[in-house]
Each structure stands twice: as structure tokens, then as C-alpha cells.
């Protein structure tokens, strides 16, 4: 019956790619913070913006979604697989396979070259490697993505990631998230380190490459002014109930 509901609000009747239900989670050795997700769905091709201030359990929610932590109870169904039931190694492989993640900042391994940073997820997913090198080599695909995101070719091979500006780093992180076409892109406040102009420019590029890859985007932010660009905007508090005594940034 949950499916019927979703169908009612999405005209294209696109399938759900994420379904979370009855999820209960507490961090080990932190009794003062509990998170409950009764019902959450993400539909294929959606651009979802979750609004929440820090302390609202954003990181915990994203960790559950990406399978970095597992809930004590409940179901997290992603692309037909309940990742709450997967063992650790399989969950890590699943994440490598189907998720691209962009953090707020410090996305890159600072010592590595731009190219190595972009190609990194391919080391953990054979499927994405195959997809990335479908039209040539993985390196040329990385170059194409970076070019699209406005990274000068001269920066790709040699420069270490640490020498890039914050805006450039975020765009490289976007290329890393998208290489090999994972189905779900998670962006955790990716623009908060950028000024207003650069925020818009970054989001333009991000939406463009996400659309091109046919991926689903879920972005978390405290900034409601970004809302008009998204197909759905939900306050995080409506999805995740938190009983708290301490901080959960």
C-alpha cells in the first residue's frame, strides 16, 4: 500500500529506488541519541532536498542510507536489496557500486592527483569500472566529466588535489561521485563552503551531470533558499525522528 501512495504523488509512476521503513538506530556507546525512520521513499530520477539544521541527524541518516552503519531494526531497501541485511563487506561493495557521495568539504585525498581522486571509487567496484571505460578508458571518462565540470585539463594529471581551490575541489568531488554512473548521488551540504555565486554555478553543473547520467540526487542542506531547484523538498524532521540528549553532528 506504500507503493500506491507514492504512485499517487509521482505522475510518471517512476519506481522507488529507496524504501526505508521501521528503522531504529543508535550509535554504539552513545545512548543519548536515537533515530527512527518510519517511512521514507526515494523515487528514481528525483532531485530531493532534505532540509535540516545541524544536529538534526543528517549525518546519521546519510550513513544509514549509504550503508556505512546498520540499523538495530528496520528495513533499508535500495534497488531491491535490503542493505540492513547485508554483511559488512557486501554492504561496502554495494555502496561502491551504487552510490556517489559528495561531502561538505575536504572531499579529496590531498596528496593524490586530481585524476587518482576521481578514479578512486573504481578500485572498489568492478561494475562502475566497466561502465566508466565503456566509451574508451576510465581516464578519458574522468577527463570528460572533469571537463564538463570546468576543471582545466592541465590540472587533471599532475596537480595534487590540495592545490585546488575549494570550488574546484567540490567539482572534482562531483566528478568522483558520478564516474561509472552510480544510481544514487548523495550530497551532504556540498555548497556550504562556497559563496553564493559559486553555489549556483556548482549546482547548475551538478544538476547537469546528474541528469546526463540519469542518476537520482539526494541532497542535504540547512539552506532553504536552494529549494526551488529541487523536485521535492522535505524537512528532515518529517522523516527522521530523533530523541536526543547530546549532539549528533
Amino acid at each position: 500500500m506504500a507503493i500506491a501512495q507514492v504512485k499517487a504523488v509521482t505522475p510518471q509512476a517512476a519506481p522507488d529506488i529507496v524504501t526505508m521503513s521501521g528503522v531504529r538506530f543508535a550509535w554504539p556507546r552513545r545512548d543519548d541519541f536515537r533515530l527512527a525512520i518510519d517511512d521514507f521513499k526515494l523515487t528514481e530520477g528525483e532531485r530531493l532536498l532534505l532540509i535540516g539544521p545541524s544536529g538534526s541527524g543528517k549525518s546519521t541518516f546519510l550513513s544509514l542510507l549509504a550503508g556505512i552503519v546498520t540499523p538495530q531494526a528496520g528495513k533499508i531497501d535500495i534497488l531491491g536489496t535490503d542493505i540492513a541485511r547485508l554483511r559488512g563487506g557486501a554492504r561496502d561493495r554495494f555502496r561502491a557500486e551504487h552510490f556517489g557521495i559528495i561531502f561538505q568539504m575536504f572531499n579529496l585525498l590531498p596528496y593524490g592527483s586530481v585524476l587518482d581522486n576521481v578514479l578512486l571509487p573504481l578500485s572498489f567496484s568492478a561494475e562502475r569500472r566497466k561502465r566508466a571505460s565503456a566509451g574508451g578508458t576510465a581516464e578519458s571518462e574522468a577527463g570528460r566529466l572533469l571537463g564538463k565540470l570546468g576543471i582545466a585539463p592541465s590540472l587533471i594529471g599532475g596537480a595534487s588535489a590540495a592545490s585546488l581551490s575549494v570550488g574546484q575541489q567540490q567539482r572534482v568531488a562531483a566528478a568522483r561521485a558520478l564516474i561509472g554512473a552510480p544510481q544514487i548521488i548523495i550530497a551532504d551540504e556540498p555548497t556550504s563552503a562556497l559563496d553564493r555565486n559559486r553555489q549556483q554555478a556548482f549546482l547548475d553543473l551538478l544538476f547537469e551531470v546528474v541528469a546526463e547520467a540519469g542518476a537520482t540526487l539526494i541532497m542535504v542542506s540547512h539552506d532553504e533558499s536552494l529549494a526551488p531547484r529541487f523536485s521535492r523538498v522535505v524537512p528532515l524532521g518529517e522523516i527522521a525522528r530523533i530523541t536526543t540528549g547530546g549532539d549528533a553532528a
Binding site: S59, I68, F99, P110, G112, L120, L122, F124, S160
Partner: protein, 419 residues
Amino acid sequence: MIVFRLAWQSLANRWLTAMLTILAIAFSVMLLLGVEKVRTGARQSFADTISGTDLIIGARSGALNLLLYSVFRIGNATNNITWTTYQEIAQAPDIDWIVPISLGDSHHGFRVMGTTPEYFARYRYRRTHALEFAQGKPFADLFDAVIGADVAAKLGYKLGDRIVVAHGLGSTGFVEHDDKPFQVSGILAKTGTPVDRTVHVSLEAIEAIHIDWQSGARIPGQSISADEVRKMPLPPKAITAALIGLKSKLGVFRLQRAINEYRAEPLSAILPGSTLQELWSLVGTAETALAAVSVMVVVTALLGMVTMILTTLNERRREMAILRSVGARPGTILGLLVAEAALLIVAGVGLGIALLYAALFALQPYIDRVYGLYIAIEPLKPGEWTSLAAIVFAGILTGLLPAFRAYRLSLADGMTVRT
């Protein structure tokens, strides 16, 4: 592999601390192996103090005591061997050569030993090395003395210098044989044995300086000058010990038994080699202490490495979170950190071995010359390889400590990139 390249770049970015850690491990390994080499060298040098001598005879006493005073110039003889007995034993058919020695006097703390010129030809150390004269020659005149390298160096003696022998074994406060001074006729090259610390004179000279003495004191009113004594016959009355070389090693136990059972006088005969072994087992406890200290140094170096990895761990949580987010398993992160520890350890051990051999090649001649300690440069022995393997193993085990911490942190951090 991109993951390994990135891990390597991360380590390269911390090259200074990494190099210092490797150096600390290298020095500790060098010390551990160096102590082992010096230990082996010391043991060998000790065992090589006297070679080529099959038996040492002296008045009846313990084997160690006889060895100590006859070879190491430590302690005193309990009694003498009469010249008659000596001559009788010298007739034994098995004997190839026999060299008498007579101890009891000293010169500024160095023992004076009466012997025959044959001593310089027969004494062997370090298996085949014969005594060599750095300057001069064996004693020819009655009052000639041949001094060891240490005596010459410490007291600054040259050929032709006059020296006075003291009665007894102290450096001062004893009556001196100042009426019959000696002249340095030869200085021996450094051997690293007690020979370096000995003043050698002829047996007749020992007799000559004691001719007007009785029971350890000058006979009152009776004084014989150095010139007068030259004209007198000076047959030795007694000697302290004798070194014997045999025609065939097979006869050694037969002759030893014969001497031990000699009726006219209570005598002891010892095999220097086996007695040296016995003596080493007594002084060898110090080497255990030395080895224990160097093991502690290795432990300290390993702790230093763990500290280094642990302190960098916090700033590397970002690295861990990124790797986790792109799909690295916690096991991969554990593996990377253990691999880093293993790399540091192996590099440290390798560098330590290289430094050790470099130091050995550079210092061996100097150590031999100055301390008479010959350290053989040979490949590492199986036992040493085992120690090194144990160090690598221990290093990897200790490397697991920060690795497990990183593993736990990466689980606890979840998606958060902490900085």
C-alpha cells in the same frame, strides 16, 4: 593500484616523521646486531688469547687459577715449579717445545714476566698470529726488556729507555730493584691479549735481580752490583709455569695425566682451550645484560613507531572517511595501516643492516688496532635472521594497534568527515 598509490602518497607527505621512525628502528636494529657482533668478537678474541699451546703446567691449583695467572696475568701462583722438575718434564718424548715463564715482579702496575727468547717465537694468538716486534728485537743482553704495546703506549717508552722493576705486584710502595735497571730492547706490536700489558725479561734476569734477595727482602749487608752479576752463573732455581707444544695432539691427555700424577712435586696441567671456555662461561653473564639492553632499545623504537602512526591518525580520519565513502571496507583501512607499519619496519631493519655493515667496514681496523678486538665481518647468521624476523613480526603486531583504532574510528565516524 590507486588505493596503494594514494596510501603511499599519504606516507610520502609525512616523509619527515616516517624517515625519523625508520632511522630509530634502523639504529636499534644496528645496535642489536652490533652488540651481537661485538659479543661474538669478544668471545672469539677471548678464546683466541692463546693458541697453539697444548698444555700449560704450573704448581697444583685449580685450572682457572693457573690459566688466570699464566695467561691473563691475574692473581698469583700458589707455588713454583722447581727447575729440576721443569727440566725433567721437558725431556718427555711427546713434547715439541716448552717455554718456561716466571712471574712475581711488576713495573708500574704491569706484570714482569721472565721467559726465554723462544717465547716470542712460540706464542700464538688468534689461531695463527705470532708475536711481532713493532720495534727492536728480543732480549740479547741480561738486562734487556721487551715490552708489550700497551706498556709502551701508557708509559711512553721508546727503545733504549731505562726501566726499574719493582719487587712484588703493586704499582707503588714496593721495594724496587733499582740497583739493576733494564733497558727496553724491543716493543711488541699490539695483539689485543695480555701480552700487550707485560714486560718480558729473560729468566736469567729474574734470577739476577733476586740474587741478593731472600724471602722477599734484600739480604742485609749483602749487595751484588749489576756488573758483578753479569759474571755469575745464573741458573734459574724455580719457574712459575710453562707453556708446552706437543708433537702430536694425540698425546695431550697422556701427558696431562702424567704431569697431574707427577710424584716428586704436586703439579697441574691444563688444556688452555677448554679452560678458556670455562672462564668465558663465568664472565659471559655480562653479555646477557648487554643483549637485554639492546632488546629494550628495539622495543623503544617500535613504541616510537606506534606513537608516530597514532599521532597522525587523527589528521587522517578524513582520509579514512573518504575511503569508506567510496566503498573501502574497514578491513582495507586496517590493511593499509598495517602495511604502512610493515613498510616502516622492513625499511628500518634493512637500513639497520646496511648501517651495521657500513660501520663494521669503516671501524673494524680501528677497533682491532685500539682495543685488540677483532670483529669478523661475515653474513648474518640464522639466529640473527630469526631475531630480525621477530622484530618485523613484533612491529607488525604493534602496527595492529593504531590500525584497529583507525578501524574503530572509521566505523564510529560514519559519513562524517572529521578534521
